[in-house]
Structure formats: structure tokens, C-alpha cells
Amino acid sequence: MNAANNCKTLEQIVSANKRIDVVMASLGILVLMVASAMLIGVFVDLLTSGWPRLISSEFYTNFPSRHPEKAGILSAMTGTSLVMLVTAVVAIPLGVAAGLYLEEYAPRNWLTDIIEINVSNLAGVPSIIYGLLALGLFVHTFALGETILTAGLVLALLILPVIIVSTREAVRGIPRDLREAAYGLGADKWQAVRMYVLPAARPGILTGVIVGLARAIGEAAPVITIGALTFIAFLPPSPIQAEAPFINFEWLSSPFTVMPIQLFNWVSRPQAEFHINAAATGVVLMAMTLAMNALAIYIRLRLRRHDR
């Protein structure tokens, strides 16, 4: 046999490679379509089941009720918003600072290694364990009670690893020459971090924050564990008041409920009418998550326009 019979021509190699490309691309599109079809399917299903309640304004302005047609998600929406506020205020600075420390400041030694392993492990701890921790530590030991503050803190703990890891990835992704440019000008560590590292890492950090918050907004288990109520027929005290000092922190120590708990409560009722409420709540919860994602994308685009 001669070599010409054994070897493919260059044209054959190219067309074989092209065929592989087509197969891989189709496979990728298929997988993507399955994933998005499932999301869209769930959303459409919830939307159609919950439609009667979604178009009723009372659904958004009423407290829960034993009459399904009067029941609303006002307290759950308020609860979720306030809890997420606490979570964001606690988790973002802590997580970003921890990530920056580990990446920029920490020496490479066994202590850092242990911290790193622990942070990664924390991301894998089931959320109900965080609930138990919070029940013991925040509710009883620190006597914070079954409050918005406690819920915000436990969800902050829950998403801390996500924010830390994504901050580290973002900081590590900054080109080495940009970092050297900053240090080359004589910047000390904090100047380099504040002026150049943090701005360059912002898009990545933001993504981590949103992924974290989106996870926190849907969590029910740890919030139930610390004793969130399922029936709240009042609002927490307003954070803003007419008389001095105009800002009020009493809402932090208020009992509360959140959207996932409200949803769970309604879906576990025997009456079919409550299931409509549950579906509608699901739609609102998903809308809140998507709105958060949209906000992140908007901020990222804005930052990019300003920076680049």
C-alpha cells in the first residue's frame, strides 16, 4: 500500500473538521434549548395558573388571609425586600473585603490554605445547616430573636462564599501588566486596590453578588429554621419617619415572612384556590430575581461604557 492511499487529502481533513464543528454546535444549541425551554415552561405554567391573581391589584396590597381570593403578598414582598437589604448590606462588603484580602494581601501559607479550603467548603454546606447555626447563634446566644435582622444575617452567611469566590476570580483575572502598572507608579497596596484593582474587577464581583443574592432570595429552609412566621398580617415599622432622626431601625427587630415561605404555605393548603396564589407568588418571585439580574447587567454595561 502506498502512502497516498493511507493519508487523507487536506480537503478531506478540513471537511471532516467542519462536520465535527457542525455536530458540536448543534449539540450546544440543543442543550441550551432544553435548559431555556424548562425555564420558560415553568414560567409560563406559573403565569397561566396564577394569572387570575396576578392581574388583581389586591394581590399586591393585601395581607395573607384565610380567604384565598382576598389573600395577598404585601407582607411577604416587604419581608423579602427588607431581608435582602440586610443581606446585601452585610454580605457585599464582607465578601468583597474577604476576597480582596485573600487575593491581594494574604501571604501564601498554611493558614491561608485552611481559610481557602473552608471558604470553598462553606459553599457546599446545605442551607438548612446555616439555619441551625443562626438559630443557635443569632436567635438564642445573641438574642436577636426571630427577626428580619437574623434572617438577613443568615442569608448573608449563606451567600458569603459565593461572593468571596467570585471576587477572588475577578481579581485574579485582572491582567498582570495592569497590576504592575499600578505598582510601578509607586502605588501602595491599598491605592492599587482602590484605584485600579477594584474598578477592573467590578464586573466580575457584580456577577458574583447577583448570583449570591438571587440564591438568597429563593431560600426558604434557613429562614424557616430561625422561625419566620407564615402568617403576617402587619408591616414592619417604616425605616423612614417624619420626625427626627427620620431613620428608624425598629424594622430590623420585626417578625416577618418572605416570599418562598408564603409560597410554600399556600401550596401546602388543601384548597385549590390557594394553589393559584402560590403560582402567582412564584411568578412575582421569579420576576424579582430577573429584575435583579437585569439591574446587574445594566450596571455592568454602564460601567463598561464609562471605563473602556
Partner: protein, 276 residues
Amino acid sequence: MTHLDSVKYMAGAEVAGSTPVVMSSPELRAEVRNLSFWYGKTQALNGINLPVADKQITAMIGPSGCGKSTLLRCFNRMHDLYPGNRYGGEIRLYPEDRNLIAMEPGLVRLRIGMVFQKPNPFPKSIFENVAAGLRVRGIGDKRVLNERVEQALRGAALWDEVKGRLHESAYGLSGGQQQRLCIARALAPQPDILLLDEPTSALDPIATARIEDLLVELRRTITTVIVTHNMQQAARISDFTAYMHMGKLVEYNGTNAIFTNPKDKLTSDYITGRFG
């Protein structure tokens, strides 16, 4: 103040033979003395001795891996950013005669500016890029910043091209403009020494020529140390040239002398293109 040893280092001294040196001997801005450097266990520099003449361009040439960039990065202690690196010997900084290797790295970098191989502007506006070094030094006064930024941009021959869009992103500039912006950024704080690490290796010939013109314009105003893989570049712009090979300094002389009358066989092999 220390002066260059006129016999050993003077440009053209060897060529001129016994005729007395006409050029006045330039003063030293820095002097590398018996400098060695290790990346972990790997020795990259071995007993380097090199004078750096004040307000002159000193070029370092040599084949890849000879240690020329490593030596340059010793001058601003860039190696201290990464763990496991070790220095031996000293780099004296004149006129105050301090050992740069024993100083606080941050302090060294405040006095010695650097321009890198690839243009590396910050993801900020043109103005903020040039102002960065000033801000690091705590200069926040708008009037002073405006003045110094303009001065630096003029110094880097970029002012006329960017004066109308100072507050636009630096990433909108061409590669050559970005590199001149990086030179302006390094010049703005008025450093004692300007280090350039193959500053034109990522640029096209026209942009390269502009940078070379710029460096020649600057050469009587600032002490410059440049690493280049381009021998013609060293010949065109530098006053003194050091040839390095495998972590050692093989030969140092006035640029003319090195290129017309190299004393070491390694040097002559390299500059005649026999290897490298």
C-alpha cells in the same frame, strides 16, 4: 559625586585610541554593583556591574533569557511583588548614594518610573491615566493636575493628538498612542530614572519610530534605561550599551564603541547576527 571611569566607560574611547576624550565625563545617576538575582532557586543574574549615566540613555541588549529584563526590573524592585525572589549585591542611587535594593520597594517605585512591553493603560480616561502617578503621591488639586498632565502629555508628544478628548477612555487610542500615554504616565511624577522594557516590541514600525524620536528628545532631560531586543534600536538611540549573556554582563561601553569595535567575541557574534 561619582564620575564614570573615562577610560573604561567613555563612549568612543577605545576607538579613539590614545587621543584624549573630548566629551566631558557624564555623572552617574545609579550604579549596579555585583548584583545577583534569584527566581527561587534559579539564578538569573550573576554579579552584574553597570553604571547608569545621568541624563543619558543606557541600553541593555542580549539574546532572549539573558537576564536584561530581570535586571531592569531590579531597578524598580518589581520582583518584590512576587514571592520567592532574592537579590544579592546593590544598586547605588546617586547623588544621595543609597542602596536601592535595601530601600522600601514602594519608595523606590515612587522615584523610578517604568514603561512596559505591552501598552498597559488603566481602564480609565486619558487624563486619569496620566494623573494616576500624581494621585498616588497625594496630589489632588485640580489646577496642579491639569498643568502636570498637560506637561507630561506634551513631553510624550501626545498632547496635540488627545487634547480634545482627555476625558475619553484610553482604550480608544491606537497601540502606539497608548504606549506614548504610558510614557506620559511614567513621566508625570518626574521620576529620577525612566525604565523601558522593550517598549516598542508590540508596535508597528511607524509607531516605533515615533517612540524612538520621543526617547531621543527626552534623553538630555531624564536618565533612561531601556531593554531592547532590537540592536538597531539600541544603536540608534542609546548613549551607552550593555551586552548581556546568560545572566552576566559581558561588555559595557559607549554605544558607538560597542557596535563598531566590540571587544568580546560573544558581543561581536551577537551584533553581527551570528546568534540571538
